[in-house]
């Protein structure tokens, strides 16, 4: 099997080293073009994510080893070759296994994470557009997609959030069916808040407000988020002019007798129509919080931003529940606020426990996922083995075609023109029937072969039918 892979990932290489070797889209296109057009590689694919840079390839020239391939990639990025202990390489069935494990999420930093399958698909799309894939990588990648899909549907490996912001979103989904109709408030504008905001936007939240002690920082964060969502920063409006859905009296879950809903599965990756952004000062939070469905707090404040006092008691009589997630240490939200009947308050320990529970559940699923990988790898191996006998089958058919034509030419003149067609049909049918058994035998030998028996079978057929080597 000619397939190989070489690369670095999060296990052996630090983020700095991965950054240096990381191939941008442009670099990847250049690499694919150069290596396949020069004949160094017959087929190639670059998988570059934040946790790995891998190159899958089928050798062209004899000198196209993993080191040569890696050197070529480094030449394009203008970096030195990483040290040998950081680089891994697999060939043949090991390379196939590795790709399948990557697509299944078994090789990810957070086992079972969903993003990697999309990244593998993007990498294939790029390589296919560049014309650097052919029969082998096409088949391999489609099998990898199948593995990824099977693992995600047949096991619980990808179920449950693997990070704290993901856990917050998971809680929001348990409470609210459509985040597109819900509003979220971020209290704080730091890195954690930004991660949480991105998780919420990915989940489709329709309205996002950022509250911070310094309004400028809140606006900068909103700018970055808005730019990622719709490439424009035209979100600004006067703070009082943009009311949340809840403030406008919309409780979507309890209105509308016949709501339109999705006809198929709702993908968490589907982005909604452009969400609405808003900023506010920290002092406005206690007054405004009842207008939100989700509030995530992560400031560096030493005291409670939301103490339990009279102003928050009205939260008990909200028509819909309010999810409050306090990621800050020390806590921003007074724990007594969680005692209010319509408030569901979670702190960092609760989310860590949820993440750990999810991880435990995922770990139990690893063996099932590995079994799927093994099954599909074996299936791919059998396909490769059958391919090996394809040249013999082709030659056999060509040889029989030659014989058929020669005999028809030799004896055709003895027949009337009207009978000649029947003669040709007879000859073709006879040849097909003669070849049926040997071809079936070759295919079966290839499928069942565990130790090269298919090679012996092909040789036997070649000898019997006197085919050239």
């Amino acid at each position: 099997m000619n397939i190989s892979v070489t690369g670095i990932n999060h296990r052996e290489a630090s983020v700095g080293e991965r950054e240096r070797l990381s191939l941008s889209e442009e670099d990847a296109r250049t690499f694919l073009h150069d290596t396949t057009h020069s004949g160094l590689l017959n087929e190639a694919l670059v998988l570059d994510t934040c946790n790995r840079t891998e190159i899958y390839f089928v050798k062209g020239r004899k000198d196209a080893g993993p080191r040569r391939v890696m050197e070529h990639a480094c030449r394009i990025t203008g970096t030195e070759l990483p040290s040998a202990d950081m680089i891994y390489q697999y060939a043949g069935l090991d390379a196939v296994n590795h790709l399948f494990r990557v697509a299944a999420g078994l090789d990810s930093q957070v086992v079972g994470e969903d993003e990697i399958l999309g990244q593998v698909k993007d990498a294939y799309s790029q390589a296919h557009s560049a014309g650097s894939t052919d029969v082998l990588l096409n088949k391999l990648l489609h099998r990898a997609f199948r593995v990824g899909k099977r693992v995600r549907t047949e096991t619980l490996l990808s179920q449950g959030a693997g990070s704290v912001p993901g856990a917050a979103v998971e809680l929001a989904r348990q409470m609210f069916s459509r985040l597109e109709d819900r509003s979220a408030l971020l209290i704080g504008a730091g890195e954690t808040a930004e991660t949480a905001a991105r998780a919420l936007l990915d989940a489709g939240v329709g309205y996002l407000a950022v509250a911070n002690r310094t309004l400028e920082r809140a606006e900068e964060l909103a700018d970055r988020l808005a730019a990622d969502v719709d490439r424009s920063a035209e979100w600004r409006t006067t703070p009082c002019g943009m009311r949340t859905p809840r403030e406008r009296g919309m409780c979507p879950a309890l209105t509308g007798l016949f709501q339109k809903s999705d006809s198929g599965e709702r993908s968490s990756k589907e982005k909604p129509s452009t969400p609405t952004f808003r900023t506010m000062e920290l002092d406005d939070v206690p007054e405004s919080i009842s207008g939100f469905d989700v509030a995530i707090s992560s400031t560096g404040a030493q005291g409670h931003i939301l103490p339990r006092n009279g102003s928050l008691d009205s939260l008990s009589s909200l028509p819909a529940p309010l999810l409050m997630v306090d990621i800050a240490v020390p806590r921003d939200i007074d724990p007594q606020v969680g005692e209010l009947s319509n408030v569901f308050l979670y702190n960092i320990d609760d989310l860590d426990a949820l993440v750990e529970k999810n991880q435990q559940r995922r770990r139990k699923e690893i063996s099932r996922a590995e079994a799927i990988v093994e099954e599909e790898a074996e299936r791919f191996r059998r396909w490769m083995d059958v391919r090996r006998v394809v040249p013999t089958i082709k030659e056999l058919r060509a040889r029989m075609e030659e014989l058929q034509q020669a005999e028809i030419e030799k004896y055709g003149d003895n027949f009337e023109p009207s009978d000649r067609e029947d003669l040709e049909k007879f000859a073709r049918s006879l040849c097909r029937k003669i070849l049926h058994e040997p071809i079936t035998y070759l295919r079966q030998a290839a499928e069942d072969s565990t130790d090269g028996e298919h090679v012996a079978a092909a040789e036997a057929v070649r000898d019997i039918f006197d085919l050239e080597d």
């Binding site: 809680l171 069916s177 809903s261 198929g264 599965e265 028509p319 979670y346």
Partner: protein, 270 residues
Amino acid sequence: MKLVLLGISALLPLLYLGLLLDYGATFLLQSRTTGRTPWLWGVVGLHGGFLAAQIFYLDHPPLQGGAALMGLLAFCTALVYLVVELATGERRTGAFMMVPVLLFQYGATLLGTAQVGTVAPQPEWLGLHVPPALLAFVGLTVSAVYAALHLALRRNLKRHHVGVFFDRLPSLDLLATMSWHSLLLGFGFLTLAIVTGAVYFGPTAGVSALFDGNPWLAAKVAAGVVAWLIYLATVVGRFAGSWSSGRISRFSLTGFCAVVVVLGLSAIFP
């Protein structure tokens, strides 16, 4: 005609079994969790047509005997679930709804020839009172089931318990919505059942008949009115008072307790 009716009666449990398997796959595999189920409409439509054909065949609605009532209960439950699914697009609870539907219809089919052959005389009011009452009962039962699930999930979330079972169920707001839609349907039919009951008893027997030597009837009417008042308060509270979903669920369960009393008394005083 009788053969056709018997044939459809035999077919219905199989169709509901198919629906149960479909919804079961949705719940277990968590696939196609949202959307609508066109063949549910088909089966419920066929069942409705079957009941209509029976009315034509028997010259009155099939309301007497265990088989007839079980068949009606199956239809009412499937119909209520159809409305809830249409309103919310949520499919994950379908398996739970199809279990009683299948059991009722299977029972109706087994007891079946009585369902199709009876041409016994039947009081007129039965046709106007019993079907709305059954629909009310089913709607309010479904509402109570969703309300119970809603409150259980609320409690779990409040206590930070997030379990595998609740992972597979709809979200908190959807459970509340499903309970609410069923409640509205049930309340509407309960109102109709009470009105048709009053129309029958009012002119023919007078209000005093309720309290002269008919303690069970009196208790049944009282419980029915109490249930109706509880649900009326819930509906008014939701629309005028912006009651929370938790409070609506609690009232739904309370009203259901009164409905169970009515049903029990109906069995004693049909």
